[in-house]
Amino acid sequence: MIQIRIHGRGGQGVVTAAELLALAAFRDGKEAQAFPSFGSERTGAPVTAFCRINSQPIRSREPVYHPDVLLIQDSTLLHQVDVFAGLASSAFVLINSTRDVEALRLTDFVIQHPAVQMHTLPASDLALKHLGRPFANIGMVAGYAALTGEVSKAAVNQSITEKFPGRIGKLNGAVAAEVYDYVAANLAKV
């Protein structure tokens, strides 16, 4: 089972990212569950969402305490919320930022957790280009798919069209394509 935790702020589409991931996994023929850390959080407040992907039916209803995958949609949370709590030792971490790990002051963390694979992706900037707004959620999901292959790009694309029919879907599809290109050009596939 892959357990994914997504951190962001209210209004950034964090919950949608989790749903999109779960839907993509379902399209890949897997069992998948997505749920928010429920709250009446308003725009800007820290928000967490969860996703589980498995080959067997998923029964657990507990929050994801030990994520294998951590998607951080808002890097301002890094030193505000304990986003790394319970992280699996060989976890995959993707942070939405134009800066690298060092500039984000995470070098110590990386040294202390040698098995953790950490990447940064300028998902907001890439989204801004196509959507005119810095919605990072699609880019983060696409980045995760491109970097790990744990969900397929095809399934991510399909989920985008399912979830956002029409023009918005097309634009979001373009964001995903841009991210795939960016990853191919700038980040080694792990």
Binding site: R5, H7, A18, E19, A22, L23, F26, R27, E31, A32, Q33, A34, F35, P36, S37, F38, G39, S40, E41, A45, P46, V47, T48, P57, I58, R59, S60, R61, E62, P63, V64, Y65, Q80, V81, D82, V83, A85, G86
Partner: protein, 417 residues
Amino acid sequence: MKHHIEGSQAVAHTVALCRPEVMACYPISPQTHIVETLSRKVKAGEIGNCQFLNVESEFGALSVLIGASAMGARTYTATTSQGLLFMAEAVYNAAGLGLPIVMTIANRALGAPINIWNDHSDSMSMRDAGWIQLFAQDNQEAADLHIQAFRLAEELSCPVMVCMDGYILTHAYEVVDLPTQEQVDAYVPAFEPVQVLDPQDPVSIGAMVGPEAFAEVRFLAHHKHVRALEAIPRLSQAFQDIFQRRSGGLMDTYHTDNAETLLLALGSVNGTIKDAVDELRKEGWPVGSIALCAFRPFPSHALRHVVQDAKRIIVFEKDLAVGMGGIVSSDVKMALQGLPIIVDTVIAGLGGRPIPKASVIDTVKQACLEGLEEPHFLDLNWDEINRELTRQQAQRRSGPTAENLLREVGPPGTKPV
């Protein structure tokens, strides 16, 4: 067909297939997605001539259904928490009149302090109202139970609540096999009311009943529930025949054979509990679990039968009878009277507090090795409780308890989960 879908959407979709004729709804989190979807379906003409009334309160919502049901219409609403309390008078009335209304409860805590997250305090507060109460373990069952609920309600002429955990189920996306219209039509026959307001055959409904007959009327309501104990498993079986999957029934048992310790709970936490059972079994603990689907009527007899060889039952319940302890565990104890079985009460998951698998496992081990105090509260923050108790002792005007605690605990969202 299998869909990856939000729980609320799955329920709304399924309710629509049951061909309700009148729905009256009042919004409250986390029920909103269900009624929003249904209102759209009605507007789009997807539910025949169904009427969707936007009403002024939950009390109004259920009252509308009381009138519509007495007029012979199939009726549905959904609510939770404060909304259920606000309609309380009508909840008892609908059951007393024997009207087969189906209502989803998106289970949520009761205030004060106001809290929008999941526990079972709301439906528990109405447990004696005369409604049948069925609890769903996951969204597949939540959807399926509605189909069974309409048939059950109309067969017995008794209202049914389908209880699904707020947010944990209503807002969770997972795989649900959505039924087809043909399947639902094959299972839910047309509504044939046992009583109806008909100018051709005028009757009075809702007359005052005095001491000369009230007890008998009440007994007959109880008798209806006794009949439901037979009908619920039968209709679950009939459901399986058409839909090819198991849903509902009085209870769902997991590794109960040869189990010395049984965990018992209502609703979605049973998923986590089953995972915990697997892990404990791997370590050699002879444990199993029971997911109660029917809480009203309470399946005392069936439960006795299932647990007769066990030594201990640990009831995990998302409610609290303040000043007493467990609500579910009290019923379990009553059902098991005379059997040499220890019944523990674990109060857990109040107001949306997660119930981690690790805590479940620890509690089971603690119960088996040392025993549990009664009732046992899962994962309480004793530091904060003691701090507040000290504060209250130190000064008369210690201030509002909830706000004092919040100040100590810090703003929400800053701790990861």
